[in-house]
C-alpha cells in the first residue's frame, strides 16, 4: 500500500514540477537575469575580471532549472505521500482527498511560508559567499522548528477537539503556533545581505515568483495526489472496519 502511494506521490510531484518549471521560467527567470546583470555591472565598476562561465546562462535557465525543479517536485511528492500514509485515518474522519488537501495546506505553511518570513529567498548578487554555511544552517534550523511546531499544533488541536469542538480547537492550536513562531522569529538572528543599491522592485518580484513556484508545487501535489490515490485508498478502506468519511 505504501509503495503504491509513494509511486503515485512521486509521479504527481513530477507533474507539479513540470508546471512549476513553466511558471519559474516565465516569472522567475527575468528577475534572475536582472540580478545577474546588476552583479556583473558591480563587478565591472569594481574593476574585477568577469567570472568565467562554467555553465551557460541558457543551460542554467533551461535544462538546469528544469532538472532542479523536477527533481525537487518528485522528491516533494514522494515525501508528501509518506506523510499522507501516516496521517491518513489519523486526522479525524477526513477522506483521502480531504487529507491530501489539508496536509498540503499545512505543509506549505510550515515548510515554505513561515520559514520564508524569517529567511526569504534571495536572487543572485544578494548574499555574502563567506556566510553561506551560516545562512544554510539557519535556513534548515528554521524549517525544522517550523515543521515541529506545526506537528505539535496539529496534536494540540486533536487533544482539544472533543472539549472545544473542531473550530475552536483549530483556532486555539493556530494561535499557539503563532506565539511559538513569534518567539522563534525574535530569537534567531536576522540576515540582511541585500546590497544598498539593489533594485527593491527586482527583489520583491523575485521573492513573489519564488513563492509562486512553491504555491504551484504544493497546490498540484495537494489536489492532484488526493485525486490520484482516491480509488486505491477507497478499495483498501472497504476491506476494513465500517467507518465514515467526513
Amino acid at each position: 500500500m505504501v509503495g503504491k502511494l509513494l509511486l503515485r506521490g512521486m509521479l504527481v510531484g513530477l507533474v507539479a514540477g513540470i508546471l512549476a518549471f513553466a511558471f519559474a521560467h516565465v516569472y522567475g527567470e527575468p528577475q534572475v537575469d536582472k540580478a545577474i546583470a546588476y552583479e556583473e555591472q558591480q563587478a565591472q565598476a569594481a574593476g574585477e575580471a568577469p567570472e568565467p562561465e562554467m555553465v551557460s546562462r541558457a543551460v542554467q535557465a533551461g535544462i538546469g532549472l528544469a532538472t532542479g525543479v523536477l527533481v525537487y517536485g518528485a522528491a516533494l511528492g514522494g515525501l508528501f505521500s509518506l506523510v499522507f500514509a501516516y496521517a491518513y485515518g489519523r486526522l479525524g474522519s477526513l477522506g483521502p482527498r480531504g487529507t491530501s488537501a489539508l496536509l498540503a495546506l499545512l505543509g506549505f505553511l510550515a515548510v515554505i511560508v513561515v520559514p520564508s518570513l524569517k529567511y526569504p529567498a534571495n536572487p543572485p548578487a544578494v548574499g555574502n559567499p563567506e556566510t553561506i554555511g551560516y545562512r544554510t544552517e539557519l535556513f534548515f534550523i528554521m524549517i525544522v522548528i517550523s515543521i515541529a511546531t506545526m506537528v505539535a499544533a496539529v496534536g494540540l488541536a486533536q487533544r482539544l477537539w472533543n472539549r472545544l469542538g473542531a473550530w475552536n480547537a483549530s483556532i486555539a492550536a493556530g494561535l499557539a503556533f503563532l506565539v511559538v513562531f513569534a518567539l522563534v522569529k525574535a530569537a534567531l538572528p536576522d540576515i540582511n545581505e541585500v546590497p544598498e543599491n539593489f533594485s527593491a522592485s527586482v527583489l520583491w518580484q523575485f521573492r513573489v515568483a519564488s513563492l509562486g513556484i512553491q504555491l504551484v508545487l504544493w497546490t498540484v501535489v495537494g489536489l492532484g495526489f488526493g485525486a490520484v490515490v482516491e480509488r486505491v485508498v477507497a478499495v483498501r478502506d472497504q476491506r476494513g472496519p465500517a467507518r465514515r468519511y467526513a
Partner: protein
C-alpha cells in the same frame, strides 16, 4: 459489492506504523538526498569536488528559496 464508488458505509483506515516504517526510512532518506543535491551540494557543504552541480542547478536553487552563494 462490485460497486467501488463511495458509499458511506466505510471510512478511513490508518496504515499500521510497522508497515509504514521501512518505506519512511529508506524512501525518506533517498528523497531527502535528492533535495540535498538540488538545494545545498557544493554550497555550504560538498560531497563532490568542483562547482558543476552548483552551477547547473543554480537558477532552481535560487528560485526554490535555498541560500546560494
Amino acid at each position: 459489492m462490485s460497486d467501488t464508488t463511495f458509499a458511506p458505509t466505510y471510512g478511513p483506515v490508518p496504515i499500521p506504523v510497522r508497515e509504514l516504517l521501512p518505506w519512511a526510512i529508506f524512501g525518506g532518506l533517498l528523497l531527502m538526498l535528492a533535495i540535498y543535491f538540488i538545494g545545498a551540494e557544493e554550497g555550504a557543504t560538498s560531497l563532490i569536488r568542483g562547482m558543476y552541480v552548483h552551477e547547473f542547478v543554480h537558477d532552481g536553487r535560487h528560485l526554490l528559496g535555498f541560500p546560494c552563494h
